[in-house]
Amino acid sequence: MDWSPILISLRTAITAIIITFFLGMYVAKWVFGMKSGKVKMLIDGLLTLPLVLPPTVVGFMLLYTFGINRPVGKFFLDYFSVRIVFSWSATVIAAVVISFPLMYRAARGAFEQVDMNLIYAGRTLGMSESRIFWRVLMPAALPGVASGGILAFARGLGEFGATAMIAGNIAGKTRTLPLAIYSDVAAGNMEGAYNYVLIIVAISFLIVLLMNYFTSKERRYKMKR
């Protein structure tokens, strides 16, 4: 069995979740702090869009942005000599863009669930905004933020459509597990696909267990109050 799709997938998913987790959390905090209104609705809509669009459409848009003849892609090529499309970094970009809305929405929801009086209390006690964020808001929202992170990780691991569009399906380079399964089936190698499927099912089941653990933690935390 070729182990490279597993390694590529894990490397991609782990790199992507680190980016998605912090990006999603900070963007969620930013939107959470905004005054509600049309601007907030618009931004929220744009940030959620990758979740509802077909992944191939997202992939198309990414290709359109990072293609070597497009301004952004050309910029990276000219100044850093980096070609993004059809490289490993493209798998990460696809996974980040596709999994971002899950993280963002979970974190925003978790922040909104936090009792506003805790934040106000922090302010009147003279705590700085960043201290309130790390010492009050984050701990209270952590179960929700963590389960959002796990969900985003799972989504990044399973990413297929956008990855195929922008990173291609290059064996040993950009062929992630979902792409490997597709390729094996397309080539009639059902046995190879079968192994990959088992691995994906095992990882996914582990993720569901983790999710349940965090949501039960959240419930317990609420009962305490």
């Binding site: 805790l118 106000y120 209390a121 009147t124 006690l125 003279g126 705590m127 700085s128």
Partner: protein, 349 residues
């Protein structure tokens, strides 16, 4: 010195237009739920922003809409005791008390220990808020606030989250705990008992506007306004027609009452507190007793009567102690009740 507030803010359904001054001491804000009391506190603390006005604390301008000054809550030095205390659930008692202290580590620990000693919270040091009782939570919240050295203390319905039996005990306790605090205190409540017990001065609020300001005891004795009489718990209120300079006709009960002072032109109602009737014969301001209902409270009896001399008399509430009820009135209700003229409150609309 003290806290001076004059703010306006448009809210859903009504406009807040609040003027108040603590002027050294304990000021109570008494009003029904949803009259803008809590919003006033939030504006003072800087959590909400008034549309226009001024907030000045000990000469420091916290908010001035004309000069475009609006200090963030962190810089206002205002202690805010939230209704549910807003203790940080992820921190221990010790962590909560230390949350607002901006000092080097050693001095911070000293300060925490000092506060825990004053508030007798030593044994609870490592506990989390959900592991301690409501009364203890209140004390931790208070210790946390006082540890941050505020210039003024705002209390938002401080006893509403507590069980009834704990309230009275903690009202006394809070009074004692606040002895060590030298700034002014502003308390919002809808409970007349709390307001009466704790505050030296009182402002009664109706629909976002201060109706009457004064010494607490004086306001309870003479609330002046219909709404103020209701909020301070007056059970018997009637519209009146003025008969002469010192006599009115109460239309609800069909009784003429002599009062103790000349009746102003704007007097439209009178109020009589349910405790102030007297069953001993020979007084003035006589109401004939027709008992319609007896309502049993733990330590008091509420006797609901109608004036038997008038047709269509509305109900009057008379409160008597259980003792008097058992020894006298249970067997024999008096024929008439009397009210001293000075116990009749003259009320404006």
């Amino acid at each position: 010195m003290g806290l001076y507030v004059d703010i306006q803010k448009k809210l859903k359904g009504f406009s807040l237009n609040m003027q108040l001054e603590t002027g050294g001491g304990f000021l109570g804000l008494l009003g029904a739920s949803g009259c803008g009391k809590s919003m006033t506190l939030k504006c003072i603390a800087g959590i909400e922003k008034p549309d226009t006005g001024q907030i000045i604390l000990n000469g420091r301008v916290l908010f001035d809409s004309e000069k475009k000054i609006n200090l963030p809550p962190q810089k206002r030095r205002i202690g805010y005791l939230f209704q549910d205390y807003a203790l940080f659930p992820n921190m221990t008692v010790e962590g909560n008390i230390g949350a607002g202290i901006r000092l080097p580590k050693i001095e911070k620990e000293e300060k925490i220990n000092q506060m825990m000693e004053i508030f007798q919270l030593g044994q609870l040091k490592g506990r989390y808020p959900h592991q301690i009782s409501g009364g203890q939570q209140q004390r931790v919240a208070l210790a946390r606030i006082l540890a941050s050295n505020p210039d003024v203390l705002l209390l938002d319905e401080p006893f509403s989250a507590l069980d009834y039996y704990l309230r009275e005990k903690l009202q006394v306790q809070l009074g004692e705990d606040l002895m060590s605090f030298h700034g002014d205190v502003l308390m919002v409540t809808h409970s007349r008992d709390e307001a009466y017990r704790l505050s030296n001065r009182l402002t009664i609020i109706k629909d976002g506007i201060p109706l009457i300001v004064g010494e607490t005891k004086e306001i309870f004795r003479n609330p002046e306004y219909l709404e103020a009489a209701k909020i301070t718990g007056c059970k018997n209120i009637s519209r009146v027609e003025v008969i002469s300079k010192e006599e009115v006709h109460a239309t609800c009960w069909g009784v003429n009452f002599k009062v103790h002072e000349p009746i102003g032109k704007d007097i439209k109602y009178i109020g009589i507190r349910a405790h102030y009737f007297n069953g001993k014969p020979g007084g003035i301001n006589q109401v004939g007793v027709k008992l319609t209902k007896v309502i049993d409270d733990p330590f008091e009896m509420n006797l609901v009567i109608k004036n038997k001399y008038a047709q269509n008399s509305k109900e009057l509430w008379w409160k008597v102690s259980k003792n008097d009820w058992k020894s006298v009135y249970k067997e024999q209700m008096p024929d008439n009740l009397y009210v001293a003229p000075e116990d009749i409150m003259l009320l404006k609309e």
